[in-house]
């Protein structure tokens, strides 16, 4: 019994001791650590291998660890690329069909990019680099050696090495490896000279029962990619493709040391879930020290990081080299970043309000609690949040959401007048302004075309606008009326929604996914929009797999979809309507299966051009064509709202850059002070409950005794 008391006392003591420096409701073991950034993630990242990662929740981590050659300037708008590990912007040369340099635009068959990387960049410490007597001791591990190893931390030795040009080339070769399932392999196949041949040979090698592809990748090269020396390499493209530089700024083109690939390729390690997909190896400002995506992901400062200058709007590119205004190597400011898995929105929001997360988005349920309209109709924070010192940052995402028509459909699709007039009528009838206000809490901008704000060629709806849907009245661009939509419908042969050919009402079908209350509210709203011009809309709700199947087979009629930019160039949006990207015929991203010869011709011309007046004019022409043809109902470009506490500094809205954690700063004093004030424990209820409980027990005992005595008597 004494022992029991002793143990109970120890537990209580440890608990109290643990709570001494922080409020009782703190989810962290200590708040004493300085410069720690606390945040959350909703969904565990599926892949941390840069060859494969392609979603924002994965980029949130790997962009802090891996370093591609270029990055987006943190402060400049429109978005601008600057060197990251590259010494300078690449030298671009044009080659004729014999690979001889040429300046004659008619002779250009290939484009060559020559990239130089900075010297002295070191990788994070990692067991894959550790050598003993000149031998890598962790490259041939047996099951026995791994008995006590469950994570990367359990390896006793680590080492590093310098970043070299070969590492970038190695990664590009990895992109071609089928087993890595790189989503951009198809795109690169189209552009990089020798990429598809290499991919084929690599597949054949694998088919011949060689388990490790790494050896092939190390020993064989892609014809168009050449290591020039330790710090430079060249890439030859099969055509002109100015957007290629944007790809070079994406994590796909991060360096991969061959040692890491060999290390993670070992079967016994895979059985322990120690894979490249789980434990990145990079040269960036942070390294992943804890990877438990079911609970927490921890990034810590990479002590081998060379340091970087905090950007300034006065930074310049001179002869391809970045000339920084600031001189001190200060970045990163943060020592550690702890991301906790928070699947449910309620605890996530409350923890942010308690100060336990430094930043947060705004879910639709919390919108009214966070944001209000001020007297002038502008969006601002609510008084409660302002009092807490919370900041709101807004930015329009380089994304577009739309309702698409399947152009292969016999009723709504095709280039005939009847179908086009019907599509035009629907485009006018559907009020996306209302949609933004109801379903996006006003967080969006009405789209005139696929191109979102901040991207070259964007039409803001004032000087340049969609003439099919809008009109200029007294110098004001306003939407055409429902009456005009009905006139178009009549012209199409569907007067009052009745098909003149058959005399039956026109019924259209909308393919929808999802099953929540929001989905049904949206579908009701959509039916009402169609009803405005007397068209009946039947909604076919299905799961995402079935929906995808319908899109691939082209059996759907009308659908809703969206696109997030890979890079800030109009080509990345207009290609969604290029016929050779048709989903049904080519398995591409043109889900509408839109095909227009003129548009295609202009697209091919525009895509290889640098931004210029000429390019802008071509884009205008292209937009005119699609605005007239209406393969989509031009929906909206979402606005992103993010909140941060006053102690979280250097927060800028840059939706193209993913590696921004290094620029953020934490003011620990303000944070700890505020957290203590906001989270003072309140024991009043506990005391009341205790009193009630004691009184209850006493009265029960009295009642039992009384009742028992009554019975005995």
């Amino acid at each position: 019994m004494l022992k029991l008391f002793k143990y109970a006392f120890i537990v209580l003591f440890l608990l109290l001791e643990g709570c001494a420096d922080k409020p009782l409701n703190s989810p962290y073991s200590s708040l004493k650590n300085k410069n720690v950034f606390y945040s959350s993630f909703q969904e565990r990242p599926k892949h941390l291998d840069p060859a494969r990662s392609y979603s924002s929740n994965e980029y949130a981590f790997i962009a802090q660890i891996y370093e591609p050659l270029f990055q987006y300037h943190y402060l400049e708008k429109p978005y601008k690329l600057i060197p990251l590990t590259a010494e300078r912007m690449p030298v671009v040369k044009y080659l004729d069909k014999n690979f001889v340099e040429t300046n004659k635009s008619n002779n250009i068959s290939y484009t060559k990019y020559i990239v130089n990387i900075k010297k002295g960049i070191m990788y994070q410490d990692h067991p894959a680099f550790y050598k003993k007597n000149g031998q890598f001791i962790y490259h041939n591990l047996s099951k026995n050696q791994l008995k006590k190893i469950n994570s990367l931390k359990d390896f006793t030795h680590e080492s590093t090495r310098e970043l070299i040009a070969k590492d970038y080339v190695y990664q590009i070769k990895r992109l071609s490896d089928k087993k890595n399932h790189s989503p951009i392999a198809g795109v690169m196949q189209e552009y990089i000279y020798g990429f598809s041949e290499y991919r084929k040979k690599l597949t054949d090698y694998k088919d011949n029962n060689y388990k490790n592809n790494q050896n092939y990748i190390i020993d064989n090269d892609i014809a168009g990619i050449k290591v020039i020396n330790r710090y430079s390499f060249s890439i030859i493209l099969k055509k002109q493709y100015p957007q290629f530089i944007y790809w070079l700024a994406m994590p796909f083109f991060s360096p991969m040391p061959w040692e890491a690939d060999i290390f993670y390729g070992q079967e016994p390690l895979k059985e322990k879930n120690i894979t490249l997909n789980w434990y990145p190896v990079g040269t960036g400002p942070f390294k992943l020290t804890e990877n438990n995506p079911n609970l927490r992901m921890v990034l810590e400062k990479n002590k081998n990081f060379r340091g970087e200058v905090y950007p300034s709007l006065l930074d310049k590119i001179n002869n391809g080299k970045l000339i920084s205004k600031n001189k001190d190597l200060v970045v990163p400011f943060i020592e550690k970043a702890i991301y906790s898995l928070e699947k449910e929105q309620i605890p996530r929001w409350n923890k942010f309000l308690q100060g336990y997360y430094d930043n947060s988005g705004i879910a639709s349920d919390n919108y009214d609690q966070a944001v209000s309209l001020d007297k002038s109709g502008d969006i601002s924070l609510t008084e409660d949040l302002k009092d807490k010192g919370i900041h709101l940052a807004t930015a329009t995402a380089a994304s577009t959401y739309y309702i698409g028509f399947n152009m292969l459909d016999s009723v709504i699709g095709g280039s005939n007048d009847r179908a086009r007039l019907l599509r035009q009528a629907l485009t006018i009838a559907i009020d996306y302004d209302e949609y933004i206000s109801i379903f996006a809490n006003g967080r969006g901008i009405l789209a005139q075309s696929p191109i979102p704000p901040g991207i070259f060629g964007y039409q803001d709806g004032t000087k340049e606008y969609n003439h099919t849907v809008f009109q200029n009245k007294n110098n004001l661009v306003i939407k055409k009326s429902i009456k005009e939509a009905k006139i178009l419908l009549k012209k199409a042969g569907y007067k009052d929604g009745i098909d003149e050919r058959t005399g039956k009402p026109l019924i259209l079908y909308f393919e929808a996914t999802g099953s929540g209350a929001d989905t049904y509210a949206f579908l009701n709203w959509l039916r009402k929009q169609f009803k405005k011009i007397n068209i009946q809309l039947v909604t076919r709700v299905t799961d995402y797999n079935r929906f995808q199947e319908k899109m691939i087979n082209g059996t759907g009629q009308i659908f809703q979809w969206g696109w997030n930019a890979d890079y800030p160039d109009p080509e990345n949006f207009l290609f969604l309507l290029y016929s050779k990207n048709g989903k049904v015929k080519f398995g591409g991203e043109n889900a509408s299966n839109y095909s227009n010869y003129e548009f295609d011709k202009l697209f091919l011309k525009m895509k290889n051009m640098e931004n210029s007046d000429n390019r802008e004019n071509i884009i205008k022409e292209m937009l005119k064509i699609i605005q007239y043809d209406c393969p989509w109902i031009w929906g909206f470009h979402p606005k992103s709202f993010s909140l941060s506490h006053e102690w979280f500094e250097n927060v800028e809205s840059n939706l193209m850059a993913n590696n921004t954690l290094k620029y953020n700063k934490i003011n620990d004093n303000i944070r700890s002070e505020k957290i203590k004030i906001w989270n003072k424990a309140n024991f009043t209820l506990m005391y009341i409950l205790l009193v009630l409980l004691v009184s209850f027990i006493i009265s029960v005992l009295v009642m039992i005794k009384k009742k028992d005595e009554e019975k005995v008597l």
């Binding site: 079911n294 898995l341 308690q354 309140n682 009742k707």
Partner: protein, 325 residues
């Protein structure tokens, strides 16, 4: 008894095969391997070539049940069913569709599940039995009626209400424990307090009513009347006679769910951010990782059957009149 256990284990085999075939058919009839691949490869720039390669890598390119292109036993072995479902019988759970070793993940995640489930079970048991005895003591009085109404009211409220209400009151207003999260070691206690309290409160309504009915059934029996006629007090009758005899159904009821505690709670773990097997299953369903779902359904069936066998055995231990043949 050993003979009986062997017999029960043999009975379990066709049940497990049935569960296996049912789960397999449900998943592969509803979703083709191509659809699963598309889901895992993402939404952007997925080509048919990538889908084929993804399927090949995971053996999803094989036929479902019978492989015409093979000979001998391979006609059955080189099929998705053999590779993905039959191997479960050897406890070879394989890799999840995202490439992680399932057995390893299960081993890691069962402990947080147990950390919530065990205290919730035992504290809940203690409180429910206490309340049930209290109501039985005051049976057919206003205290009892009020208690039953309270129990029904508690049962009628959704578990989500308790979770959200608990988080709001205890964590947000009173700031006594963290709203959600988990960590290893002793620090985990502060994260377990709230989910345990909520699980216990949620179970009070149904648990108390269940035990109350067990005690009421027992209290009407002849031996209780005999005890009373001997002049024993009601407290003694209740605790020494009724309670001890009602222990048999209580014990067996607890034993049957003991193995299932490993599987955790789907909702509680999800809301409190506890990385147990409950949230593992929910995540797998949401991301359509059928390899994990299959493994978890199979494990659930085995544990349930194991629980039933344990219940039978426990009967013989607590009631000498019962023997297993």
């Amino acid at each position: 008894m050993i003979k009986y256990i062997i017999k029960r284990i043999l009975y379990a085999i066709p049940i497990l095969i049935g569960v296996n075939i049912l789960t397999f058919t449900l998943f592969f009839v509803v979703n083709s391997p191509d659809e699963i691949a598309r889901l895992h490869l993402g939404n952007k720039r997925v080509t048919q070539e990538q889908i084929i390669s993804w399927n090949e890598e995971r053996g999803y390119n094989n036929p479902l049940f019978y492989n015409n292109s093979e000979i001998g036993l391979k006609v059955f072995k080189k099929t998705i069913f053999y590779e993905k479902s039959f191997k479960l019988f050897l406890f070879d759970f394989g890799l999840s569709d995202s490439g992680r070793d399932i057995k390893y993940d299960i081993k890691q995640r069962m402990w947080p599940s147990l950390a919530i489930a065990l205290p919730s079970l035992f504290v809940g048991l203690f409180i429910n039995i206490t309340f049930a005895l209290f109501f039985v003591f005051f049976r057919f009085t206003y205290v009892d009626y009020f208690g039953v109404i309270l129990c029904v009211a508690l049962m009628s409220v959704s578990s989500l209400f308790y979770i959200i209400g608990g988080q709001y009151l205890i964590s947000k207003l009173l700031h006594l424990v963290p709203i959600s999260g988990y960590t290893q070691g002793l620090d985990a206690i502060k994260f377990l307090i709230l989910p345990t309290i909520i699980s216990v409160i949620y179970s009070i309504g149904s648990g108390t009513r269940w035990y109350r009915s067990l005690f009421l059934e027992e209290i009407e029996k002849d031996y209780v009347k005999t005890a009373r006629s001997k002049g024993l007090s009601e407290v003694t009758v209740l605790f020494h006679h009724v309670f001890r005899n009602a222990l048999i159904p209580i014990l067996t009821g607890v034993v049957v769910i003991l193995p299932l505690l490993f599987l955790g709670s789907l909702i509680v773990e999800s809301f409190f951010g506890i990385p147990g097997l409950g949230s593992y299953t929910i995540d797998a369903i949401q991301s359509q990782d059928f390899a994990i779902v299959r493994a978890m359904v199979f494990l659930g069936s085995i544990l349930y059957i194991f629980g039933l066998i344990l219940t039978d055995i426990s009967y013989t231990l607590v009631d000498p009149r019962v023997s297993l043949k």
